[in-house]
Symmetry: C5
Subunit: 89 residues, 5 copies
């Protein structure tokens, strides 16, 4: 799974029906400048460091095998000190 | 999911039968020069900023588990200000 | 899906049984120097610009969910002018 | 599969229910500075060199097709001499 | 599929049960310095140039949908002249 930071909520009104009403977050992987979009069943706030699962597991993590996600937040990291590069609590 | 911009429609007459008649769009991920091809069940126009799902979820998002897509547009972003790097509405 | 150019046919006599007799093509993605191998159910010629599907959809596109492909050609692009970067017909 | 080194345990109290109680490890792929998170059904210690499976196989390797993992440790390498670049025992 | 060269056999005694007794090979993709681990149901020797399938197809290619592989050797290339960049026989 990837370690990413939540940046902001994304709004997309025109969407396929299967996306439903789960929140979408713009996230950025640690050490990368590329932004991606993740489905958020956990309820994150801007700035949170989160664990995001990809591949086919992202569907189940979003609540259903039919959910069209390839990137779903599965947990909020309790403590992430990015400078000292440790994830210990 | 990836954040991409639609560039143009792609025509491929010789194709496997399962591709059917859904539109194909040439898209470019934000910050990348690599072009990819996405299936478009939403109905995009050139220049639209869209959310694209990959992995196995791209099949369901295209309408069927048998649809041979690994990159399907699932939503059009309401507002994307690429310079200020925000996706808020 | 990726936009690749077909380079040449690949011969691999020692192979797992599930690969069967479908042709294998050495391909190169647009703008990359990395060569990959794609299964070809369409019938391409050297130099063709093609659309290639990856992920789990590559199995179905090769004709069966049991086919061991992660990269299958699904269409030949009618017209690809690589210099002007357009895929319009 | 990827060759990674275990760095430390990760704590994420707010998580989706399917993650259960399996341990999460922060790992770094050989030759990369990017950290990722892997599910650990084997029981690793900090500094171990491990084999990690991704894609949909990461779910089964974690014990169930419903487990939301895309990166699961499947083995500890007996001997890895990173300087001489060999993995022989 | 990827074009890789087999470097050496890998030994990992502590492993999840599903890995069974299939051989594991350290391989390197053509043009890359990153080493990966592939399951070998074909029987390769050090130095062989091979075709390796990833994604979910790697499970079937290893002999079972429950096999935890994301990178399985599916064929040995008959002739690979890396300098002239051709894969013809």
């Amino acid at each position: 799974m990837k370690i990413c930071q939540v940046e902001t909520t994304l709004v997309a009104t025109s969407r396929v029906g299967q996306l439903g009403t789960l929140g979408l977050q713009v996230v950025r992987e640690r050490g990368s400048t590329t932004k991606q979009v993740a489905v958020d069943p956990v309820g994150c706030r801007d700035g949170d460091w989160v664990i995001i699962v990809g591949s086919s597991a992202a569907r189940t993590a979003a609540g259903s095998n039919d959910y069209p996600s390839d990137f779903t937040i599965v947990g909020i990291i309790d403590y992430w000190d990015d400078d000292s590069e440790s994830g210990r609590k």
